[in-house]
Symmetry: C2
Subunit: 209 residues, 2 copies
């Protein structure tokens, strides 16, 4: 997605240890115009899937998934990262380790909002090791609902998350795919590389089947 790649190039900052800081438009200050475009793109990609719920995780997933849910005419659910006083019982739960924050969070979704008739699109801001997306998918499956796909704003394609999700059988749609953050520079996956990676992924999927 060109608009998003442009924002990453112009406003993103590469920090040590392959951290990409996008605080100025995605996960602290929010560019709502860009988030609306991102949401609409997710909705477009999954328009034919009969989605009944969009599921994300607080806090940075809320803005990019907001308009996706609206366009798909589905409620948006955000998983909570720890139990609150008003959300103690009757929750689906999964443990998610954050490599960035070096901590494990218990993520929860109230059982009343997901059931076996739901067809769910999962959306998150970043895909690196796949922990958050797999945690969200686990919650959907605990409910007996179906994951139709995982929409990611920024994928670190040099980390194992994408392949883990493909191997688990999920459709993954990432709006920006980063091949490398070496030397403080953002390099996106190019079309040729993309085909190679897709081919590789097809093999992964096949090996699972």
């Amino acid at each position: 997605m060109k608009l998003l790649e442009q924002a990453i190039r112009e406003k993103g900052t590469v920090l040590p240890n392959d951290v990409l800081k996008v605080n100025s438009f995605l996960n602290h200050q929010i560019d709502t115009e860009l988030m609306i475009a991102i949401g609409k793109e997710f909705a477009h990609l999954f328009a034919q899937e009969g989605i009944t719920k969009v599921l994300t995780i607080e806090s940075s997933g809320i803005a990019p998934s907001f308009m996706a849910a609206n366009e798909l005419k589905s409620p948006l659910i955000f998983a909570r990262k720890k139990k609150s006083l008003t959300l103690q019982d009757n929750v689906y739960t999964s443990s998610v380790y954050s490599y960035t924050k070096k901590e494990t969070n218990e993520i929860t979704v109230a059982k009343e909002f997901l059931n076996c008739n739901d067809t769910v699109l999962i959306i998150d801001d970043f895909l690196a090791n796949g922990e958050a997306a797999l945690g969200l998918a686990s919650i959907v499956e605990q409910a007996g609902a179906t994951v139709v796909g995982i929409g990611i704003v920024i994928e670190k394609s040099f980390q194992p998350g994408r392949n883990k999700l493909l191997q688990a059988g999920y459709r993954v749609e990432s709006l920006a795919r980063i091949e490398s953050l070496s030397n403080g520079t953002v390099t996106f996956v190019t079309k040729n590389h993309l085909e190679e990676v897709q081919h590789e992924n097809e093999n992964c999927s096949l090996s699972v089947v």
Copy 2:
């Protein structure tokens, strides 16, 4: 705001200790249509104020403030509830006690996103004791920026938050004002009561001057 009051009546649940659970449309599952209407209403109320930034707090403030920021053509900033690895230095900070969660959070905003030229609208989901709104206002003032008002989705008018904010000199616009949650029933502030409360508040303001 009638649509919001209707959602509270139809989908809200009153729990013990004056807790109003609105998990089904505001702070766990999100009704994006309603949030868009709420955001537009905030934008309308503050349209003449020359707002340059909308400031809220993760996570439940993000959805209702998203479209307000978009309509006002301002970035949306959400204060973080604790420091993350990518947001350690150069932050404004304030301590906020949550009576609902019985815990104190350090809320932070990166200094780069607020400065003395900013005219800021603060938005939050609930107003009860006023702690979160006052913490956000403190952050704006640490930046030398101006708070032009505080937009609240649901105000518990029987708790002291509104008067604290008025006494501190802030304009407060709450889209639903709850007079009582006694006996498990939601009672909204009616027009007559509203005038009384406003009169009372004017006296409060005067007594401060």
